[in-house]
Symmetry: C2
Subunit: 339 residues, 2 copies
């Protein structure tokens, strides 16, 4: 059996180019005992992958040059040497940017297509949804009546943050780019207020939308949006930091002025809590409650989600570039093969 893979050919400088990736078709090894052969259906694209392309110090090792780009997938088992998985099973796996793969059955999770569409295991009921749930509830700790702000708010993390904030009785203010996304925030996802960060009056709009200041800023973008939000953080506000997509393609520190002293001063005078996190930290304790809560919320319509599905593995690099600048609208998935 063969697989077509996208390998990391060089470490991108700034925005990843087509030359940073190599498409290679190669033979897969024979299955060993306990392994399964998988056919990729959906590949998840997520901003953290930009970090894996870099060899800067981080919580995770970079993808080696020449290695297959990593990523979560939903796959079908097409051959099995494990009692755990049968041919035809749909599973969650971490097989990366490729059409087929051999994996240890124990590193896959079986999905029940009757419980929810299997693609949701990569989105609202998967890593992005769990990132929103754990970061908002463990670090953000929104209280009834407080104001929660999140950017990239039509994305899989941001939309879940806003909807969970509402469930917890907080006011949800969402920020997105462009009128279509902004409209979806209130009409589809139930945010109290939606703001367009591309508007020339964005700072004033934000002030008007947060008359009592901001108690929780779920940070997943950084950049100028964060700058505007930071000025409105209340005493004891919490800032879960789960992503900084605005910075991911940066090749050096931006020109001055140096905003760090001002930010530290704000942390001090407002008694802020700024806390970086990766969802895996909370998996041992919170993943089961997450699946129970979020499963229920999705079933009863209190949490909605949107998917942006791009057909064909060959379109992965371009779709990934779009993700970093917000061209997708909802959870970005590559449909590598039909379900």
């Amino acid at each position: 059996m063969q697989t077509t893979q996208i390998r990391l050919a060089s470490r991108p400088v700034g925005e990843p180019t087509d030359d940073d990736f190599a498409f290679v078709t190669d033979d897969l090894p024979e299955l060993a005992e306990g392994q399964v052969l998988l056919r990729t259906i959906y590949l998840s694209l997520d901003p953290y992958m930009r970090g894996r392309m870099s060899d800067a110090k981080s919580y995770a090792a970079p993808v080696p040059l020449g290695g297959v780009m990593v990523g979560q997938t939903v796959c079908e088992v097409i051959e099995s040497r494990s009692d755990r998985r049968a041919v035809g099973d749909l599973v969650l796996a971490y097989t990366g940017w490729q059409t087929h793969a051999v994996a240890d059955a124990q590193h896959t999770r079986r999905l029940d297509p009757d419980a929810a569409p299997v693609s949701t295991a990569l989105g609202v009921l998967g890593m992005p949804g769990f990132t929103a749930y754990a970061g908002l509830l463990e670090i953000g700790r929104p209280q009834p009546g407080e104001t929660v702000v999140v950017a990239a708010a039509t994305g899989p993390v941001g939309s879940a943050v806003g909807q969970i904030a509402k469930i917890k009785g907080a006011r949800a203010v969402g920020i997105a780019g462009g009128p279509e996304k902004v409209r979806a925030l209130t009409e589809e996802f139930g945010f109290d207020v939606a703001l367009d960060h591309r508007s020339p009056t964005f700072r004033d709009d934000l002030a008007a939308a947060t008359p009592d200041g901001i108690d929780v800023y779920f940070e997943n973008v950084g950049g100028p949006v964060a700058d505007a939000v930071n000025r409105r953080l209340n005493l004891y506000a919490r800032v879960p930091v789960c992503g900084l997509v605005a910075n991911y393609n940066a090749t050096s520190a931006p020109e001055g002025p140096d905003r760090l002293p001002g930010y530290m001063s704000r942390i001090l005078t407002q008694s802020l809590t700024v806390r970086g996190f990766i969802q895996s930290e909370f998996e041992p304790t919170l993943f089961k409650p997450f699946l129970a809560d979020m499963g229920e919320w999705v079933r009863d319509g209190r949490v909605r989600y949107r998917e942006d599905i791009v057909e064909g593995l060959e379109n992965t690099p371009e779709a990934f570039r779009g993700l970093l600048v917000g061209r997708n609208f909802g959870k970005l998935l590559i449909q590598v093969a039909p379900l």
Copy 2:
């Protein structure tokens, strides 16, 4: 009865000058029921006072122009219209930069001169000691074997941070300016390692002193010291932010490059907790345990302290300028009048 006061004449731009203060001698009002007349013995000078001279948004209102500069004091009661306080009592009060004052007896705390020298109520057994205790234990949470770093380490907060860290089984690395202070860190305060931030090899010295990285950075200075420390913070490191004295005289954001994106990225990739605080947040729950613990540690010699006493209210502005650049050596007090 008259008092000589130091009033805020203008809001300093950069380092406070003599012109920013006005010395005025004025009549005190008659005592009302429940009030006491106080003679100031010790006036505490602390970095937070620079913030009170400014009208930037903060957790506390600024001193109004023409108002007496605020500050904690140790005073003697020289007249009383309260059952709570007798003439001759020594009390902790918040009467500011002046020789005499009228205060509500209920806003004073009686000090026992037999339990500890009364000046310690402004230092190791007072606000600075409590700042160290609450920030380190509630936010820093040092574990046995972890590495705790603190700057301005011969100051009243820093020296307490290092010594409490040792009591909790952590390794204490102190940073100070100049050979005399550096020597005191290991010889007097028991730090494991002492570093001079003025040394041209400071960054290398810090790396050598923290081979396992840094788990807690108690932030009370900011500036280049913080920059060097931040690069060595471990996964899940905690940064209680209690002061940024290096920035207090700044009049604008420094020139670039802009270090904020890099700092946020470090918070994210290292899952850092950065938490600003003012000790008053923790007073309701922790002040009693603090007095019990710290009183015991001071009595049995496990926590030592050093005072830098400047004679004469007239020397207050110059002493305060020195405090902001580290010219004091130990807790800075003005001896306004003899005990």
